[in-house]
């Protein structure tokens, strides 16, 4: 059985950060904030966050903040809730939440809640349960859940539940593992997991494991390392992680590594990227792979960071 090429992955992530002018950076430019969160969280899980210039990252993050309180994907870009969560998570990683004007960020998020409890992604109004999770997670980290109507937010998520136990993007939407993570995470953060039929959803989720050991996102689809996060964290939150074969999943993730140049891809032998490197390492962390810090399945942040936020440890 292969091992996690931890050193190579650290090198890979640090190299992506430096390579600002190549094609990947151009494609990623508009979601650099997400990329930074994926890369930095991976480094932290690998115990190497001290390789990063904290002040430089924090000042860049703050330059991406818009006057509305939301954050853009890069400097000068329009704010979106997707990047706002990543920004808050990055600051949490570095224990720098104190640089934030918490009320300003809170007002931005609270302003995106709709009458039916759902959340829009930005001022243009797209609605999706992804944004419900993001809002609740962000406000929970900032300890401002009381600034929105959490009950309505929960009711909206419950209205997206399907009879296979899963959740979709909007009421009636097909169950999808990414969407399920968002809804289960949001319910976990608000202490509302009793709305879930754990056996039914657990069954759907454990059926995502395919012969190779990897997980897919919907029935009859190919496996992808990113579902090692979406599916696995959901199974953990509903206490059904023993329903899949963990050893085979570990092996699948390790098979997706580029052992020469570092990084993890969606499937074995594909091209690596930061997104899949993060989800692979985070998945291994959930599987208690030796040498990795533990990650919290609902906050998607290292457990010690979450403890620091809530217990001041």
């Amino acid at each position: 059985m292969g091992e996690l090429a931890a050193k190579k992955h650290v090198q890979y992530i640090l190299s992506v950060e430096k390579r600002k002018d190549d094609l990947v950076s151009v494609v990623m430019e508009h979601l650099r904030m997400n990329g930074a969160y994926w890369g930095l969280t991976t480094l932290d899980l690998l115990g190497k966050l001290d390789n990063v210039d904290v002040d430089k990252v924090v000042s860049w993050v703050m330059e991406c903040q818009h006057e509305s309180g939301g954050f853009g994907g890069n400097i000068g870009h329009d704010p979106h809730i997707l990047y706002t969560l990543s920004a808050v998570q990055i600051l949490a990683l570095f224990d720098k939440l104190n640089v934030l004007d918490v009320d300003k960020v809170t007002n931005y998020i609270a302003g995106l809640q709709n009458e039916d409890g759902s959340f829009s992604g930005d001022m243009w109004g797209e609605v999706d349960t992804r944004f419900s999770y993001i809002s609740l997670c962000c406000l929970s980290i900032l300890r401002r859940l009381n600034k929105i109507n959490a009950e309505k937010a929960v009711n909206y998520i419950v209205s997206c539940k399907n009879l296979d136990g899963g959740f979709g993007s909007t009421p009636g939407g097909e169950s999808h593992a990414g969407q399920i993570f968002c809804c289960v995470g949001a319910l976990a953060l608000t202490g509302s997991l009793h709305h879930i039929d754990k056996d039914l959803l657990g069954w759907w989720l454990c059926e995502r494991q395919v012969k190779s050991g990897g997980l897919n996102g919907r029935p009859e689809k190919l496996p992808d390392v990113c579902y090692s996060w979406w599916v696995l964290s959901s199974l953990i939150m509903i206490d059904r992680v023993h329903w899949i074969n963990k050893e085979k999943l570990v092996q699948y993730i390790l098979d997706c590594q580029d052992t020469e140049n570092g990084g993890i891809s969606d499937r074995p032998d594909d091209a690596v990227d930061v997104y899949h490197t993060y989800f692979g390492v985070a998945g291994l962390s959930l599987l208690e792979y030796p040498g990795l810090k533990a990650i919290d399945p609902a906050y998607a942040l290292p457990v010690d960071v979450v403890n620091r936020i809530f217990f001041g440890k």
Partner: protein, 311 residues
């Protein structure tokens, strides 16, 4: 970038005529929709493109709000676009979600029109007799998609969401609901006999039977197909499905879904009739053993299922 585009469009719209275009392609909003079409074909899973398209439609609804007939035909014609997109990828959930959004809006307008005035109501009645209901045509569309590809879970899922509304719209009695339920089971079972290993259909069977797993009620939430069954009804239907699946077992030895559904329905049946001779613990143990052999990846799940069923 999309946001810039939207800001520009909003600015340009201010000088656009509020009369719907006589010639197609002459107004800004139509041109932008046409601009999107090849992009959608090339990147059918891009959230931003779908999102921009629904935004354009919303703008049309606002900009031409004095011309409801135009707006509605515009929105309705979007169903053809979705049909095209779904014929290229039957499982594209963006396409299915978009379709549901269009249908929901068209239905809201229909309802508003109904509430308007008595005159409009008369017109509406006439219209109903001429134009088939949107819900009914959506239900037929899912059937068409399913007949083309039995394992299209997206189509089954949409169907499951449509049925309760269709039955409400038909003002179906409990007897009619029962008939619908039975017909749906029969439709599904035809498919299952053709292609037993397909998991979409087993899921859908579970979905239908889930209705019977709750206690009988006089009336229930609108999301249910059928509620006023008796314990005798439940027993009879579970027994029939178990018997049918046992028969299927004779030719299909290696389908884990079959064993799983058998076990689950057996558990339900035993709750209704503990002293039955229809099922033996020995055969249920055998099914469980088959599941463990066929699907060792999920051994933890099967162990828990065995515990739940006291096997």
């Amino acid at each position: 970038m999309w946001n810039y585009r939207r800001k520009i469009i909003l600015a340009l719209l201010e000088s656009e005529d509020h009369t719907p275009p006589v010639q197609p392609n002459t107004d800004l909003l139509t041109r932008d929709r046409e601009f999107l079409l090849p992009l959608l074909k090339q990147y059918p899973k891009c959230y931003w493109i779908w999102n921009h398209r629904i935004w354009l439609l919303e703008q049309s609804a606002t900009h031409y709000n004095n011309h409801p007939v135009y707006i509605r035909s515009l929105w309705r014609s979007e169903l053809n676009l979705v049909k095209l997109m779904l014929s290229r990828d039957r499982r594209n959930f963006h396409g299915w979600d978009y379709r549901r959004m269009i249908v929901a809006r068209l239905r809201r307008w229909e309802a508003e029109q109904q509430d308007d005035t008595a005159v409009a109501q008369d017109a509406k009645k006439l219209q109903i007799s001429k134009i088939p209901s949107l819900l009914e045509s959506e239900l037929s569309y899912t059937e068409e998609m399913i007949r083309a590809d039995l394992s299209n879970f997206s189509a089954w899922n949409t169907r499951s969401k449509l049925i309760p509304s269709v039955l409400d719209e038909r003002a179906a009695s409990q007897d009619q609901r029962r008939a619908f339920f039975e017909a749906e089971i029969a439709f599904l079972k035809d498919g299952l006999m053709l292609d037993p290993p397909d998991q979409s259909m087993w899921k859908y069977h579970q979905y239908l039977m889930y209705v019977l797993m709750t206690a009988p009620q006089e009336s229930g939430p609108a999301s249910e197909i059928w509620v006023s069954f008796t314990d005798a009804d439940r027993k009879q239907i579970f027994a029939r499905e178990i018997a049918d699946f046992k028969e299927l077992l004779e030719d299909t030895k290696d389908c884990k879904w079959l064993y799983q559904n058998l076990l689950q329905y057996s558990g339900q049946y035993l709750r209704l009739d503990g002293g039955t001779r229809m099922l033996t613990t020995a055969e249920m143990r055998e099914w469980l053993a088959q599941l463990k052999t066929l699907d060792p990846l999920r051994i933890g799940h099967w162990n828990d299922l065995g515990k739940t069923l006291n096997l």
